[in-house]
Symmetry: C2
Subunit: 456 residues, 2 copies
């Protein structure tokens, strides 16, 4: 592989020594402010710089700082929450910055400083996973494990891997992507040593259920996920649990594409270049019937709303199929203004008015008599009764409008928030109306070219 | 049940004593002519009146006479054929009637007399089924079995059963009907004693695989047909082998309908009363796309041509489904001029231009690389590749016209004779054109009301 491109890429994506020094100095200053303030309040905590910054695996411009305040295990949870917010706010105010309250498993406070965004997160000081009180408590263990096991050059390989994964859209454990987390990327490099090796292994040796167990805990057999990577700090956790089979597969395909053509282009986003005419013609050629459901949602965290949109899309597809409207494909996304879009492509927009409805076996006297009474026009097909029934819906748009009515909506499995927004208001466009009307059509392009991001 | 209607019905359907005596006298005369002529030629045969007439189970106006000439087992087959034709022709000429050559397993000769049609069939004189040389040899055994086991009143019950079966269109072992043979009706009466009992048993106790073994041979287990009736003259023959599951089911349903309403109407054909408008509107309401394939065939025996039409219809349905045109139903028939009609109803006449084509698992590196090379637009669906392929046909009429071209026809499984006729010429009509054009639309009505004949 062409190693020299990696140096060029690292020059672009790795924070400089000065940037890194400034950031560390700034973090240390904040941590000093907090520790002395806490001790002045008679509370004993230790502050930790955690996350990719601490592990030297943060990409330039994504350099947000995570400061964890570790309380002793005998501190009651209410106190931990209260002091966590108080100490963070104190550091932010001392530096004359703005603060913002955010939520993960507990509320935490974020400081919006000139050069950085800093999260101040309270957690418990644990020495191993058995003492875990909440998900954030692991973070310090993870940071320490990577710090103590990863060389600086391996950290650079992590940067390449993260950049590649971002560019092919497989990076991020959040529900929007359901891909590879930063920690998972780090463990892959610890396992395979270099970016090139990860690519080669993925391209040629990975298959569903691939196992990585750095500490030889022998617990892989407990999992049936697409990929099983045992957390070195917790024998009973699969770090890749959130990775979907689709993203796993996409990374494998991207890795194969890259091996075929190891171009620098794989380290930046694949720019989409399309036009309204091109898109509209593509749908005309397909001879299908495609619709877009558009709905304004309330503002909610990505990890709350994306699973609901996913559920809604799957449910629309399943219910459509139940009414015999065959679905070619779907794609969902949300824009920056919390507007949800669901693209759904049907084989045809209209069906016959009737369908065959199978009845009981003829030698089942009781049920076949009941069936014949219920359907006087029933007839014989081999050893069974059949009848012709009217379809509830022969037009796909009627079907969609009907199942989205408040009184019929219970047939769909929607998330709570999506459901409330759909009751308020939604629009359905034919894909052609939609293309005419909207400006940002990248997602429509990606619907038609779902592997566009995986190749260059 | 209302017994008195049966007497009325028998009055109509049973030949009178005079008719029967005339027929027996006439048959005996013919048999005398043949036996003395044969003996004058030095050939030793016995003549037998066989079939329903001999068994007193023939319906009035269906009183054709079957005379079997039984040769000794040491007569070579060529001689049997030759003498069979010669002796029959001699009897016909002696009586100044016309003769006609016909074919079953051998050729045989039919005499067209003023009052009767008489078949003269040569066969071997066998004493049990183990000596069987051809299918016709059984006939004498069957006739003798019924003559020696059935009372006159039971023969009347057979008449009722045959008449009922004819009226609901389940009578006849030929390939046009694939229903109950006359001999099977006789065995049913021997088993259940009366028409009413057959009806009651069928309606309430018959299920697929019902077994009747009058001579307790214990051979039912060798068969897996819808109905198993061991031939009393041959432990290794199922008399109901030609009965299809559909006709078996239809008789059961007709029997249940009759029990619900034991009307005289069940002993005559159910007259169809429809109009072009009614039929056309019914198809419009169904919102489907229905076509009729019409083709002039050459004149061939029913049992040769019907299996071919059946095969053709099934094949058209299977190939249509293979191209994703979903078939609601089919019906075929032939008119008196050997014109074949196949009605085929599709859910829709047009499909999208594209369809999903599934590829290999992604972890199957070799095949997934091949697939990706073959279909550069392939994409990921879970752990597999998929691609969008253009359909060969998106319009049903184009598909039909194309697969019926001589060069494409091999995709269809057609009988030899149907195939040759289709190559010459055929027409396809939309059901609405067809209804406008044709006069006899009973079969179209029966397509829409497939159980019409089973109820009154």
């Amino acid at each position: 592989m062409v190693i020299h491109i990696y140096n060029d890429i690292l020059d672009e994506i790795k924070p400089s020594d000065t940037q890194r020094k400034n950031m560390l100095d700034f973090s240390n200053k904040l941590m000093d402010i907090i520790t002395s303030y806490a001790s002045s309040q008679g509370i004993n905590i230790t502050c930790h710089l955690v996350g990719s910054m601490a592990k030297k695996t943060s990409l330039v411009n994504k350099a947000d700082i995570d400061i964890f305040m570790a309380f002793s295990l005998d501190c009651p949870p209410e106190d931990l929450k209260k002091y966590g917010l108080e100490f963070g706010r104190h550091a932010i105010e001392t530096m004359n910055a703005k603060s913002q309250l955010r939520f993960a498993s507990h509320p935490y406070i974020t400081g919006l400083f000139d050069d950085y965004e800093v999260d101040f997160v309270p957690c418990y000081k644990i020495s191993d996973a058995s003492q875990l009180r909440s998900a954030v408590d692991r973070t310090i263990l993870h940071t320490e494990y990577i710090q103590s096991h990863m060389s600086d050059s391996e950290a650079d390989e992590v940067l390449l891997l993260k950049k590649f994964m971002s560019s092919v859209n497989t990076y991020g454990a959040n529900y929007k992507v359901s891909g590879f987390s930063g920690y998972l990327c780090e463990l892959l490099i610890l396992r395979y040593k270099s970016f090139d090796n990860v690519i080669r292994e993925a391209a040629t040796n990975w298959s569903e259920g691939v196992e990585i167990d750095l500490e030889n805990y022998g617990t892989c057999g407990n999992y049936s996920d697409p990929m099983i990577v045992i957390d070195p700090t917790d024998a009973n956790r699969n770090v890749a649990a959130a990775l979907t089979i689709d993203k796993f597969s996409e990374f494998i395909i991207a890795a194969r594409n890259y091996l075929d053509n190891p171009s620098r282009e794989y380290f930046s986003k694949h720019i989409i270049n399309t036009s309204k005419d091109e898109l509209s013609n593509a749908f005309i050629e397909r001879g299908t019937s495609t619709y877009v459901l558009k709905c304004q949602l309330e503002h909610l965290p990505t990890d709350v709303i994306y699973p609901q949109i996913n559920k809604t899309t799957n449910s629309l597809e399943r219910v459509s199929r139940g009414y015999d409207f065959s679905v070619i494909g779907t794609r969902y996304y949300m824009d920056d203004n919390d507007v949800m879009y669901i693209i759904i492509e049907y084989e045809t927009s209209s069906l016959s008015n009737i369908k065959i409805h199978n009845g009981p076996r003829i030698d089942d006297v009781k049920n076949s008599n009941n069936f014949k009474n219920k359907y006087p026009d029933s007839y014989i097909h081999k050893n069974r009764l059949q009848t012709i029934k009217n379809r509830k819906y022969s037009d796909v748009m009627c079907m969609l409008r009907s199942i989205l009515k408040k009184e019929n909506m219970s047939i769909l499995k929607l998330g709570k928030n999506v459901k409330e927004s759909l009751i308020d208001n939604y629009e359905i466009y034919s894909i052609h109306e939609f293309i005419k009307k909207e400006e940002d059509l990248d997602e429509v392009y990606l619907y038609l070219h779902p592997t566009y991001e995986l190749s260059r």
